[in-house]
């Protein structure tokens, strides 16, 4: 998964650079705005479709109960405080930085979305920061699990329903499946709205 994403990002960067500076084959906006918007809408459709199609996933959601829903909201609060502190340290726009940390690791959404909302520089920052969140989660999971059994689920944020679910189950135990899946789902549902709302204050 990650190697496909890295390849697409690098090839996209090179293609954009070559197109802009040398060949001018297509208008830049046709790919960076129009194609992007179509792909994002398709992504959300496919994401919603495949979730509703998966009876086990829907049942899991029903069985988790109310208590487990406290978990993702603690991650929301932690990400807000982390973003706030980062904004103060880095002297960046406060609401914008909290919007970046409210991508909860979903960089395929956070990067393009913050780019559209606040410009390409914030898009790159959101993409890189949220990409690093997933990368740090995967690479430091053996250390994190020693801190707390549920620390990797908190760290993974919105990615714990897909990309980091496998490693989390291996290190935290198979019984964390329901917690991790629902955590990732709830955060993935919150992320786009949190970013739009916060960016409107920036």
């Amino acid at each position: 998964m990650i190697k496909w994403i890295l390849a697409a990002l690098i090839i996209g960067c090179v293609a954009g650079y070559v197109n802009n500076n040398f060949i001018n084959a297509v208008p830049n906006g046709l790919i960076s705005d129009q194609l992007f918007a179509v792909a994002l809408i398709a992504l959300l459709f496919v994401f919603g479709f495949s979730f509703a199609l998966d009876k086990a996933a829907v049942d899991k959601m029903r069985k988790t109960g109310v208590r487990i829903f406290a978990f993702p909201f603690l991650v929301v609060l932690g990400s807000i405080v982390g973003g706030l502190l980062a904004a103060l340290i880095l002297q960046l726009n406060l609401a914008g930085t909290i919007a970046v940390s409210s991508g909860y690791g979903w960089y395929t959404l956070a990067g393009p979305m913050m780019g559209q909302l606040m410009g390409p520089k914030w898009g790159t920052l959101a993409f890189t920061a949220n990409f690093l969140r997933e990368l740090i989660t995967i690479t430091t999971i053996p250390l994190m699990v020693k801190l707390d059994r549920y620390a990797p689920v908190a760290s993974g944020g919105g990615t714990t329903m897909d990309t980091t679910l496998g490693v989390i189950m291996r290190y935290c135990g198979k019984d964390t499946l329901i917690l991790a899946f629902s955590n990732g789902l709830v955060l993935s549902l919150i992320a786009p709205f949190a970013m739009v709302a916060l960016a409107s204050f920036a």
């Binding site: 830049n28 919603g48 980062a86 880095l90 707390d148 739009v196």
Partner: protein, 92 residues
């Protein structure tokens, strides 16, 4: 076209997707893994294109890396702290 993206642009495809999936869930549907990966790859390609075609942005990139690391590290740290603190309160 969809610029700037509004909340409705995101809600609508998600809700329509959930409804379609719900009504078709007893039908045999081929695995969507490859389709969703393809959509993600197209999305990331178009994002990379936007980065690569922006010379102003490319010169600012070295600065963004460190900022991104500070933001992600602090977000992870406080997410873990809040979950640890919340667990004692909620007793999960």
């Amino acid at each position: 076209m969809f610029n700037p993206l509004s909340i409705l642009d995101l809600i609508l495809p998600l809700v329509v997707g959930v409804f379609c999936g719900y009504f078709l869930r007893n039908k045999k549907i081929p695995k969507l893994e490859n389709l969703s990966l393809a959509v993600i790859v197209i999305l990331i390609f178009s994002l990379g294109f936007g980065i690569g075609s922006n010379n102003q942005l490319l010169s600012a990139l070295p600065q963004v890396g460190l900022q991104a690391l500070v933001i992600s590290a602090l977000a992870i740290m406080f997410s873990i702290i809040f979950v640890k603190a919340g667990k004692r309160l909620v007793k999960t």
